[in-house]
């Protein structure tokens, strides 16, 4: 039973499942890095804050479903402005234009223009749209509240506002159908001859006129409402699921790896100490081990989460409490074998101290086993945490995949057919688990040559 690090790696690299596990794990780490880089933690912390998801659609499918459909479902578009400013004599004009190439087979469900303006005086805001056929429609013309000192003003223009329909009435003669009962987006995006969608590029323009100073738009977004959005879609609370899923990756890896390293280290030290000491110490330690071993873990974990607290770090601690026992049992029996080996007895006779014998002669022998157990115990930690989160007892400040599934089930996503809310988190949980199972199995084959058959 002797292993060298290089020998193990040599065997490991020739094991297909082991390498598959490593590739999967590398992908997950890459996802974590992408999450860290593209979505700052502060943004992620607003996951449970409905205000930060106002511009997003409700329960939208992923945008790529359109590839499998002949009728393209309108995509929910959050447009960023193209900005220009000019000065006409004493009037400052700020123009934000939003261009969109609209190629979907349906009207947008609505549109919203949200802005935050910084100005003095009383600037005039105009919203207009140029259609693919060159017709320009005036939608809104409104003056912002008068301000003597510099102020910032945030407001929204909704497609449902009456003023838009009224303004459109001046272009009534162009359309060959009555549109008194139609909502504004169905008029703007319609063909002239019939009330059908007119595909092509639309340009929405926002002009801000001010005489008393240069106005500025700090925030300016035009939202065209649709039923599909992004890579992963959105949930009932308008949250972009790709954000939650991406951030769930580092969290799952953190929980899984910390719990397994913690419990394996604890179990290893406990078991080796008991096995090495033997006699009454061993008996007492093992009876205590039996007690923890036989406790029903999940009910107690739930009680702990409810009464002590549900922070993610506490949860890691709780999982370690129930995770170390099995490893302690095995490492005890392994330590009992090793301590009878002659070189261990020799160093004992030479008066070597106990802790030196344990750390220098026994523990290194158990390291391959320890690594295999770390890999094998990761999936259990991840699924247990996911299960607790699924019951709604997880850390609300760090939403994990389990919590996304909890939200899905509390809005009965399964019975409403919202597959994009249910499938990805579960698949990610399984992939993460599988990556470690594969690696653990490859390690296991190396340490237990008997399995190689």
């Amino acid at each position: 039973m002797s292993f060298s690090a290089r020998g193990i790696w040599h065997e490991f690299s020739h094991n297909k499942t082991g390498m598959a596990g490593i590739v999967m794990l590398a992908t997950l780490f890459l996802m974590s890095i992408i999450a860290f880089v593209t979505i700052p933690v502060e943004n992620f912390k607003t996951w449970n804050d409905p205000a930060s998801w106002l511009l997003y659609p409700k329960s939208a499918q992923p945008a790529w479903v359109n590839y499998f459909q002949s009728e393209k479902i309108p995509e929910h578009l959050i447009l960023q402005p193209q900005r220009s400013s000019q000065q006409l004599e004493s009037v400052f004009v700020l123009t934000d234009s939003f261009a969109v190439n609209y190629q979907y087979d349906g009207f947008p469900s609505d549109f919203i223009y949200r802005y935050t303006a910084k100005y003095t005086g009383s600037p005039l805001l105009q919203l207009s749209v140029t259609r693919p056929d060159g017709i320009e429609l005036r939608l809104v013309s409104t003056s912002l509240p008068i301000a003597n000192a510099e102020t910032t003003y945030t407001s929204m223009i909704f497609s449902t506002q009456n003023v838009i329909v009224k303004n459109l009435a001046s272009d009534k003669h162009r359309y060959s159908f009555p549109f008194d009962v139609l909502s504004s987006e169905k008029i703007i995006f319609s063909k002239l001859g019939e009330n059908k969608i007119l595909k092509g590029s639309y340009v929405f323009r926002v002009h801000l006129y001010d005489v008393s100073g240069k106005p500025a738009l700090e925030k300016s977004n035009l939202v065209l409402g649709g039923k599909v959005y992004g890579i992963m879609g959105t949930d009932e609370l308008r949250r972009d699921l790709s954000v939650g899923l991406l951030w769930g990756t580092p969290l799952a890896l953190f929980i899984g790896i910390t719990v397994s390293i913690g419990s394996v280290t604890l179990g290893l030290l406990y078991g080796v100490y008991a096995g090495f000491k033997g006699k009454a110490t061993d008996e007492a330690l093992m009876r205590f081990n039996d007690i923890i071993y036989a406790m029903p873990a999940l009910p107690l974990l739930i009680i702990l989460a409810v009464t002590v607290g549900n922070s993610i770090f506490l949860m890691v601690g709780f999982l370690v409490i129930f995770g170390w026992v099995g490893i302690a049992k095995v490492s005890r029996s392994m330590a009992m074998q090793i301590k009878t080996l002659q070189y261990v007895e020799a160093s004992k006779l030479m008066g070597q101290k106990d802790h030196k014998i344990i750390f220098k002669h026994i523990l290194p022998q158990l390291l391959p086993y320890a690594f295999a157990s770390i890999a094998i115990s990761v999936p259990a930690a991840i699924t247990t945490e996911a299960g607790i989160s699924f019951l709604g007892l997880g850390d609300p400040t760090f939403p994990t995949w389990g919590q996304i599934l909890h939200d899905a089930s509390s809005y009965s996503a399964a019975a409403r057919g919202m597959w994009w809310w249910i499938l990805p988190p579960g698949i990610l949980i399984a992939i993460t688990g599988l990556a470690f199972v594969f690696m653990g199995q490859a390690m296991d084959v190396i340490i237990n040559p008997r399995l190689r058959r």
Binding site: M295, I302, V308, L393, L405, A414, P425, G426
Partner: protein
């Protein structure tokens, strides 16, 4: 060590575990329980005083009334023993004694279907349903698993062996409850064959209740079997592969005994002890998993009761359910030990 002594030692350990689990539970919920009980006492007495018109008119000032109420509350708290903290020896001793005699008290919020708030009634109503679902699932899973495992072990490295192992590893990576959600999506939404909620919608007294219960049980049962039999087959296969390499099997083969007979009667018998242990442990483990599975399917058993009790912090129910779950868990561990001794005489003589 004789087998009897071995069993006695195990029994003592089990009892110790039961007590330790209960102590931990009481320690965790004790403080909350006290504050909730005190609040309910306060509320009750205020209600009594305000409802009692003649008593109310006998007070001259509000101060007088407040002091009277305060007095009553203190008396009531003392008579209930709430003046001492939950960790005082008398109270712990008393609660442990009560629990051991299956006197769990009354639930604060939850009731049984028949309307009783006695925790014992609630548990006795829910327990059979959990046992029905999980015992049926375990029975199906173990039969399927043992058969498939034996087939895989007799043809190591064949296609069926590889499929079994692959399926086992992949199926055990998915959380059972997630598969449950998926099953609801497929079989209650896409193809509405089974109901999404597993709670039967007719009353218990209806003659069709039994059938309705079975129909509602189908989806959770299929899920449990689907997710369970793969890892079972894998375990059985691994144990059998080990046994099939032993010399005595070679001897049987050399003697010309039929391969099927060697597999099913000789090899399986020798692989039985670890299989039985795992069976018992998985049965009790599935009881813990029942909490989440039953919550997903809305199956009206112990697991969902536990979940509901925790979400409203109904402490007597939590303690009672923990006790019953732990007792079942330990009983199956104990049975596994006995069976192990029965199948493997070496344990008895150890």
């Amino acid at each position: 060590m004789g087998f009897k002594k071995f069993l006695a030692k195990r029994a003592i350990t089990m009892f110790g575990v039961l007590m330790a689990t209960l102590l931990v539970t009481i320690a965790l919920v004790g403080a909350n329980m006290d504050s909730i009980s005190k609040q309910s006492v306060t509320l009750e007495i205020r209600q009594q005083v305000t409802n009692n018109k003649s008593l109310l008119s006998s007070f001259k000032t509000t101060d007088q009334m407040d002091s009277y109420i305060e007095n009553q509350i203190q008396q009531q708290i003392k008579s209930l023993g709430l003046d001492q903290p939950w960790y005082s020896p008398q109270r712990i001793g008393l609660s442990m004694y009560k629990i051991l005699t299956l006197d769990f008290g009354h639930a604060k919020f939850l009731t049984s279907d028949s309307g009783s708030s006695d925790v014992k009634d609630i548990i006795l109503e829910k327990l059979p349903r959990t046992i029905l679902l999980f015992t049926t699932a375990t029975a199906i899973v173990s039969v399927l698993g043992i058969f498939l495992g034996a087939v895989a072990a007799s043809k190591v490295h064949s296609r069926i062996d590889k499929i079994t192992s692959g399926f086992a590893i992949i199926s055990s990576s998915f959380p059972v409850w997630w598969i449950g959600v998926l099953m609801i999506f497929v079989f209650a939404f896409l193809y509405p064959i089974f109901p999404a909620r597993a709670t039967p919608d007719i009353s218990v007294t209806d003659p069709g209740y039994g059938g309705s219960l079975l129909y509602h049980m189908a989806l959770p049962l299929i899920t449990l079997v689907l997710i369970g039999f793969g890892s079972w087959a894998y375990l059985v296969r691994n144990f059998l592969v080990g046994v099939l390499q032993e010399d005595f099997i070679m001897a049987k083969r050399a003697a010309g005994i039929d391969e099927k007979r060697i597999l099913y009667s000789h090899a399986l018998k020798n692989a039985a002890p670890p299989i039985v242990t795992v069976l018992a442990l998985s049965l009790s483990g599935s009881l813990g998993g029942a909490i989440i599975t039953e919550a997903v399917f809305d199956w009206p058993g112990m697991g969902r009761l536990y979940y509901e009790a925790i979400s409203v912090l109904d402490l007597p129910v939590i303690i009672g359910a923990t006790y019953v779950l732990t007792a079942f868990f330990l009983a199956s561990v104990f049975v596994a030990d006995v069976l192990y001794g029965y199948f493997d005489p070496r344990v008895r003589r150890e």
